[in-house]
Subunit: 144 residues, 2 copies
Amino acid sequence: MDKKYDALKLENQLCFPLYAAAREVVKRYHPYLDELDITYTQYITMMVMWEEKEITVKALGEKLFLDSGTMTPVLKSLEAKGYVTRKRSTTDERSVSVFLTDSGEALKEKAVDIPAKVAGCVGLDGEEALQLYRLLYKVLNTEK
Amino acid sequence: MDKKYDALKLENQLCFPLYAAAREVVKRYHPYLDELDITYTQYITMMVMWEEKEITVKALGEKLFLDSGTMTPVLKSLEAKGYVTRKRSTTDERSVSVFLTDSGEALKEKAVDIPAKVAGCVGLDGEEALQLYRLLYKVLNTEK
DNA sequence: CTCAATTTAATTGAGTTCAACTAATTATAG
DNA sequence: CTATAATTAGTTGAACTCAATTAAATTGAG
Protein backbone atom coordinates (compact mmCIF):
# COMPACT_ATOMS: atom_id res chain seq x y z
CA MET A 1 0.00 0.00 0.00
CA ASP A 2 3.02 2.28 0.40
CA LYS A 3 3.20 3.47 -3.18
CA LYS A 4 4.95 6.74 -2.44
CA TYR A 5 8.26 5.59 -3.88
CA ASP A 6 7.03 3.27 -6.63
CA ALA A 7 7.97 5.78 -9.33
CA LEU A 8 11.59 5.45 -8.19
CA LYS A 9 11.74 1.71 -8.83
CA LEU A 10 14.00 0.70 -11.70
CA GLU A 11 11.28 -1.53 -13.14
CA ASN A 12 8.94 1.43 -13.47
CA GLN A 13 11.35 3.52 -15.52
CA LEU A 14 10.98 4.00 -19.27
CA CYS A 15 14.31 5.75 -19.60
CA PHE A 16 16.35 2.95 -18.11
CA PRO A 17 15.48 0.19 -20.62
CA LEU A 18 15.96 2.76 -23.38
CA TYR A 19 19.43 3.54 -22.09
CA ALA A 20 20.32 -0.11 -21.50
CA ALA A 21 18.90 -1.41 -24.80
CA ALA A 22 20.77 1.24 -26.76
CA ARG A 23 24.08 0.14 -25.25
CA GLU A 24 23.30 -3.54 -25.73
CA VAL A 25 22.41 -3.13 -29.39
CA VAL A 26 25.43 -0.96 -30.16
CA LYS A 27 27.54 -3.74 -28.67
CA ARG A 28 26.13 -6.14 -31.27
CA TYR A 29 27.84 -4.10 -33.98
CA HIS A 30 31.24 -4.44 -32.38
CA PRO A 31 32.46 -7.68 -33.99
CA TYR A 32 31.48 -6.50 -37.46
CA LEU A 33 32.83 -2.98 -37.02
CA ASP A 34 36.08 -4.38 -35.65
CA GLU A 35 36.65 -5.99 -39.06
CA LEU A 36 36.50 -2.51 -40.61
CA ASP A 37 38.53 -1.01 -37.75
CA ILE A 38 35.91 1.64 -37.02
CA THR A 39 33.72 2.39 -33.99
CA TYR A 40 29.95 2.71 -33.92
CA THR A 41 30.11 6.53 -33.85
CA GLN A 42 32.47 6.47 -36.81
CA TYR A 43 30.11 4.03 -38.56
CA ILE A 44 27.02 6.24 -38.32
CA THR A 45 29.14 9.21 -39.36
CA MET A 46 30.22 7.28 -42.47
CA MET A 47 26.56 6.42 -43.15
CA VAL A 48 25.85 10.12 -43.49
CA MET A 49 28.96 10.62 -45.61
CA TRP A 50 27.97 7.78 -47.96
CA GLU A 51 24.69 9.58 -48.55
CA GLU A 52 25.92 13.17 -48.66
CA LYS A 53 29.48 13.03 -50.05
CA GLU A 54 29.97 16.54 -48.63
CA ILE A 55 28.44 18.14 -45.55
CA THR A 56 29.31 20.71 -42.91
CA VAL A 57 30.25 19.68 -39.39
CA LYS A 58 27.16 21.45 -38.11
CA ALA A 59 24.75 19.64 -40.45
CA LEU A 60 26.44 16.33 -39.65
CA GLY A 61 26.04 16.95 -35.94
CA GLU A 62 22.38 17.80 -36.37
CA LYS A 63 21.71 14.59 -38.26
CA LEU A 64 23.45 12.51 -35.60
CA PHE A 65 22.25 14.53 -32.57
CA LEU A 66 25.89 15.09 -31.61
CA ASP A 67 27.74 18.34 -30.91
CA SER A 68 31.14 19.51 -32.11
CA GLY A 69 32.81 18.24 -28.96
CA THR A 70 31.96 14.74 -30.13
CA MET A 71 32.14 15.25 -33.90
CA THR A 72 35.56 16.88 -34.05
CA PRO A 73 37.55 13.93 -32.64
CA VAL A 74 35.46 11.44 -34.65
CA LEU A 75 36.12 13.35 -37.87
CA LYS A 76 39.82 13.71 -37.10
CA SER A 77 40.00 9.96 -36.59
CA LEU A 78 38.17 9.25 -39.87
CA GLU A 79 40.46 11.72 -41.60
CA ALA A 80 43.50 9.92 -40.16
CA LYS A 81 42.14 6.66 -41.58
CA GLY A 82 41.77 8.36 -44.95
CA TYR A 83 37.98 8.04 -45.28
CA VAL A 84 37.18 11.77 -45.23
CA THR A 85 38.92 15.11 -45.61
CA ARG A 86 38.03 18.37 -43.86
CA LYS A 87 38.29 21.85 -45.31
CA ARG A 88 37.22 25.20 -43.96
CA SER A 89 34.65 26.77 -46.22
CA THR A 90 35.86 29.66 -48.37
CA THR A 91 32.44 31.29 -48.48
CA ASP A 92 31.89 31.15 -44.71
CA GLU A 93 35.10 30.60 -42.83
CA ARG A 94 33.29 29.75 -39.63
CA SER A 95 32.13 26.47 -41.08
CA VAL A 96 34.11 23.35 -41.97
CA SER A 97 33.01 20.96 -44.70
CA VAL A 98 33.68 17.24 -44.62
CA PHE A 99 34.27 15.35 -47.88
CA LEU A 100 34.06 11.63 -48.59
CA THR A 101 37.27 10.25 -50.16
CA ASP A 102 37.54 7.41 -52.68
CA SER A 103 38.81 5.24 -49.85
CA GLY A 104 35.76 6.22 -47.81
CA GLU A 105 33.49 5.37 -50.72
CA ALA A 106 35.23 2.00 -51.05
CA LEU A 107 34.58 1.27 -47.37
CA LYS A 108 30.86 1.20 -48.14
CA GLU A 109 31.39 -2.04 -50.04
CA LYS A 110 32.86 -3.67 -46.94
CA ALA A 111 30.02 -2.36 -44.77
CA VAL A 112 27.11 -3.32 -46.98
CA ASP A 113 26.41 -6.62 -45.22
CA ILE A 114 26.51 -5.26 -41.68
CA PRO A 115 22.83 -4.21 -41.34
CA ALA A 116 21.62 -7.66 -42.36
CA LYS A 117 24.06 -9.37 -40.03
CA VAL A 118 22.98 -7.28 -37.06
CA ALA A 119 19.25 -7.27 -37.85
CA GLY A 120 18.74 -10.71 -36.34
CA CYS A 121 20.22 -9.67 -33.02
CA VAL A 122 17.39 -7.33 -32.06
CA GLY A 123 14.93 -10.15 -31.47
CA LEU A 124 11.89 -8.36 -32.86
CA ASP A 125 9.75 -9.35 -35.83
CA GLY A 126 9.09 -6.92 -38.67
CA GLU A 127 5.94 -5.45 -37.19
CA GLU A 128 7.49 -4.91 -33.77
CA ALA A 129 10.60 -3.37 -35.27
CA LEU A 130 8.46 -0.90 -37.19
CA GLN A 131 6.49 -0.03 -34.04
CA LEU A 132 9.71 0.54 -32.11
CA TYR A 133 11.09 2.65 -34.95
CA ARG A 134 8.02 4.89 -34.97
CA LEU A 135 7.95 5.29 -31.20
CA LEU A 136 11.64 6.18 -31.06
CA TYR A 137 11.30 8.83 -33.75
CA LYS A 138 8.29 10.20 -31.93
CA VAL A 139 10.46 10.57 -28.83
CA LEU A 140 13.28 12.11 -30.86
CA ASN A 141 11.03 14.60 -32.60
CA THR A 142 9.06 15.71 -29.56
CA GLU A 143 12.27 16.39 -27.70
CA LYS A 144 13.40 19.99 -27.87
CA MET B 1 16.07 1.17 -58.45
CA ASP B 2 19.58 0.93 -57.01
CA LYS B 3 18.62 -0.49 -53.66
CA LYS B 4 21.92 -2.22 -52.98
CA TYR B 5 22.95 0.30 -50.33
CA ASP B 6 19.54 1.20 -48.89
CA ALA B 7 20.21 -0.79 -45.75
CA LEU B 8 23.14 1.55 -45.05
CA LYS B 9 21.00 4.67 -44.98
CA LEU B 10 20.68 6.29 -41.58
CA GLU B 11 16.90 6.53 -41.96
CA ASN B 12 16.64 2.77 -42.35
CA GLN B 13 18.44 1.99 -39.11
CA LEU B 14 16.63 0.85 -35.98
CA CYS B 15 19.74 1.08 -33.84
CA PHE B 16 20.42 4.73 -34.59
CA PRO B 17 17.16 6.23 -33.24
CA LEU B 18 17.52 3.92 -30.24
CA TYR B 19 20.99 5.27 -29.58
CA ALA B 20 20.00 8.89 -30.21
CA ALA B 21 16.75 8.75 -28.22
CA ALA B 22 18.51 7.23 -25.24
CA ARG B 23 20.99 10.11 -25.10
CA GLU B 24 18.28 12.71 -25.60
CA VAL B 25 16.12 11.36 -22.81
CA VAL B 26 19.01 10.99 -20.37
CA LYS B 27 19.75 14.65 -21.04
CA ARG B 28 16.25 15.52 -19.81
CA TYR B 29 17.24 14.31 -16.35
CA HIS B 30 20.21 16.63 -16.13
CA PRO B 31 18.60 19.74 -14.62
CA TYR B 32 16.86 17.70 -11.92
CA LEU B 33 19.87 15.53 -11.13
CA ASP B 34 22.08 18.61 -10.96
CA GLU B 35 20.01 19.74 -7.97
CA LEU B 36 20.97 16.51 -6.19
CA ASP B 37 24.56 16.75 -7.47
CA ILE B 38 24.48 13.27 -9.00
CA THR B 39 24.78 11.96 -12.57
CA TYR B 40 22.31 9.72 -14.41
CA THR B 41 24.45 6.63 -13.85
CA GLN B 42 24.67 7.45 -10.16
CA TYR B 43 20.89 7.99 -10.11
CA ILE B 44 20.01 4.57 -11.50
CA THR B 45 22.56 3.04 -9.14
CA MET B 46 20.82 4.74 -6.22
CA MET B 47 17.47 3.43 -7.51
CA VAL B 48 18.76 -0.09 -7.03
CA MET B 49 20.18 0.79 -3.63
CA TRP B 50 16.86 2.30 -2.46
CA GLU B 51 15.23 -1.03 -3.27
CA GLU B 52 17.93 -3.40 -2.08
CA LYS B 53 19.70 -1.64 0.81
CA GLU B 54 22.57 -4.11 0.33
CA ILE B 55 23.82 -5.79 -2.86
CA THR B 56 27.06 -7.06 -4.36
CA VAL B 57 28.85 -5.16 -7.10
CA LYS B 58 28.23 -8.07 -9.44
CA ALA B 59 24.47 -8.17 -8.84
CA LEU B 60 24.28 -4.41 -9.18
CA GLY B 61 26.11 -4.56 -12.49
CA GLU B 62 23.76 -7.26 -13.77
CA LYS B 63 20.70 -5.21 -12.90
CA LEU B 64 22.09 -2.15 -14.66
CA PHE B 65 23.76 -4.02 -17.57
CA LEU B 66 27.07 -2.42 -16.58
CA ASP B 67 30.42 -4.04 -15.82
CA SER B 68 32.83 -3.43 -12.96
CA GLY B 69 34.86 -1.00 -15.08
CA THR B 70 31.86 1.31 -14.98
CA MET B 71 30.46 0.40 -11.56
CA THR B 72 33.64 0.78 -9.54
CA PRO B 73 34.18 4.51 -10.20
CA VAL B 74 30.44 5.20 -9.84
CA LEU B 75 30.36 3.45 -6.47
CA LYS B 76 33.51 5.20 -5.29
CA SER B 77 31.92 8.51 -6.18
CA LEU B 78 28.69 7.65 -4.34
CA GLU B 79 30.76 6.52 -1.38
CA ALA B 80 32.64 9.84 -1.40
CA LYS B 81 29.29 11.64 -1.30
CA GLY B 82 28.29 9.50 1.68
CA TYR B 83 25.32 7.74 0.08
CA VAL B 84 26.74 4.21 0.17
CA THR B 85 29.53 2.26 1.81
CA ARG B 86 31.48 -0.66 0.33
CA LYS B 87 32.81 -3.64 2.21
CA ARG B 88 34.49 -6.79 1.01
CA SER B 89 32.45 -9.81 1.95
CA THR B 90 33.80 -11.92 4.80
CA THR B 91 32.24 -15.12 3.49
CA ASP B 92 33.58 -14.69 -0.06
CA GLU B 93 36.43 -12.23 -0.23
CA ARG B 94 36.21 -11.99 -4.01
CA SER B 95 32.97 -10.08 -3.76
CA VAL B 96 32.27 -6.57 -2.50
CA SER B 97 28.94 -5.58 -0.97
CA VAL B 98 27.47 -2.12 -1.26
CA PHE B 99 25.33 -0.73 1.58
CA LEU B 100 22.86 2.17 1.57
CA THR B 101 23.65 4.76 4.27
CA ASP B 102 21.13 6.89 6.17
CA SER B 103 22.24 9.81 4.04
CA GLY B 104 21.59 7.72 0.94
CA GLU B 105 18.16 6.79 2.23
CA ALA B 106 17.43 10.47 2.87
CA LEU B 107 18.35 11.31 -0.73
CA LYS B 108 15.34 9.30 -1.84
CA GLU B 109 13.11 12.00 -0.43
CA LYS B 110 14.77 14.62 -2.63
CA ALA B 111 14.49 12.37 -5.70
CA VAL B 112 10.88 11.30 -5.31
CA ASP B 113 9.51 13.98 -7.66
CA ILE B 114 11.99 13.44 -10.48
CA PRO B 115 10.12 10.69 -12.37
CA ALA B 116 6.95 12.79 -12.58
CA LYS B 117 8.90 15.85 -13.66
CA VAL B 118 10.66 13.98 -16.45
CA ALA B 119 7.65 11.89 -17.57
CA GLY B 120 6.18 14.71 -19.61
CA CYS B 121 9.36 15.14 -21.63
CA VAL B 122 9.08 11.85 -23.49
CA GLY B 123 6.15 13.02 -25.61
CA LEU B 124 4.29 9.71 -25.58
CA ASP B 125 0.85 8.98 -24.18
CA GLY B 126 0.31 6.16 -21.69
CA GLU B 127 -0.44 3.50 -24.28
CA GLU B 128 2.58 4.37 -26.43
CA ALA B 129 4.86 4.49 -23.39
CA LEU B 130 3.72 1.02 -22.40
CA GLN B 131 4.30 -0.29 -25.94
CA LEU B 132 7.78 1.20 -25.99
CA TYR B 133 8.51 -0.25 -22.56
CA ARG B 134 7.49 -3.74 -23.70
CA LEU B 135 9.47 -3.56 -26.92
CA LEU B 136 12.61 -2.35 -25.15
CA TYR B 137 12.48 -5.14 -22.60
CA LYS B 138 11.93 -7.61 -25.41
CA VAL B 139 15.15 -6.34 -27.00
CA LEU B 140 16.96 -6.44 -23.66
CA ASN B 141 15.84 -9.96 -22.86
CA THR B 142 16.51 -11.48 -26.25
CA GLU B 143 20.03 -10.13 -26.17
CA LYS B 144 22.63 -12.59 -25.00
C1' DC C 1 44.80 -32.56 -0.68
C1' DT C 2 46.50 -30.04 -4.93
C1' DC C 3 46.62 -27.52 -8.90
C1' DA C 4 44.12 -25.84 -12.84
C1' DA C 5 39.93 -23.42 -13.98
C1' DT C 6 36.61 -20.12 -12.59
C1' DT C 7 34.85 -16.12 -10.33
C1' DT C 8 35.01 -11.40 -8.78
C1' DA C 9 36.69 -6.53 -8.51
C1' DA C 10 39.72 -3.50 -9.86
C1' DT C 11 42.75 -1.22 -13.23
C1' DT C 12 44.11 0.49 -17.69
C1' DG C 13 43.57 2.60 -22.11
C1' DA C 14 40.86 4.18 -25.97
C1' DG C 15 36.88 6.28 -27.36
C1' DT C 16 32.53 8.73 -26.47
C1' DT C 17 29.56 12.36 -24.62
C1' DC C 18 28.46 16.77 -23.09
C1' DA C 19 28.63 21.37 -20.69
C1' DA C 20 31.17 25.34 -20.62
C1' DC C 21 34.23 28.15 -22.72
C1' DT C 22 37.17 30.40 -26.45
C1' DA C 23 38.30 32.35 -30.90
C1' DA C 24 37.14 33.59 -35.29
C1' DT C 25 33.77 34.99 -38.53
C1' DT C 26 29.46 36.78 -40.11
C1' DA C 27 25.08 39.21 -39.61
C1' DT C 28 22.51 43.00 -38.04
C1' DA C 29 20.73 47.16 -35.68
C1' DG C 30 21.32 51.84 -35.35
C1' DC D 1 30.12 52.26 -41.05
C1' DT D 2 30.37 50.31 -36.36
C1' DA D 3 29.36 48.03 -32.28
C1' DT D 4 26.78 44.26 -30.73
C1' DA D 5 24.82 39.76 -31.32
C1' DA D 6 24.78 35.30 -33.30
C1' DT D 7 27.00 31.43 -35.45
C1' DT D 8 30.46 27.86 -35.97
C1' DA D 9 34.39 24.78 -34.67
C1' DG D 10 37.38 23.70 -31.57
C1' DT D 11 39.23 22.90 -26.73
C1' DT D 12 38.95 21.46 -22.03
C1' DG D 13 37.55 18.83 -18.15
C1' DA D 14 34.61 15.46 -15.99
C1' DA D 15 32.21 11.35 -16.37
C1' DC D 16 30.86 7.19 -18.73
C1' DT D 17 31.54 2.78 -21.33
C1' DC D 18 33.75 -1.27 -22.46
C1' DA D 19 37.44 -4.63 -23.84
C1' DA D 20 41.34 -6.52 -22.06
C1' DT D 21 44.14 -7.48 -18.35
C1' DT D 22 45.50 -8.34 -13.48
C1' DA D 23 45.22 -10.08 -8.82
C1' DA D 24 43.07 -12.49 -5.34
C1' DA D 25 39.97 -15.97 -3.78
C1' DT D 26 37.21 -19.97 -4.48
C1' DT D 27 35.85 -24.25 -6.67
C1' DG D 28 36.38 -28.70 -8.43
C1' DA D 29 38.59 -32.69 -10.81
C1' DG D 30 41.57 -36.24 -10.01
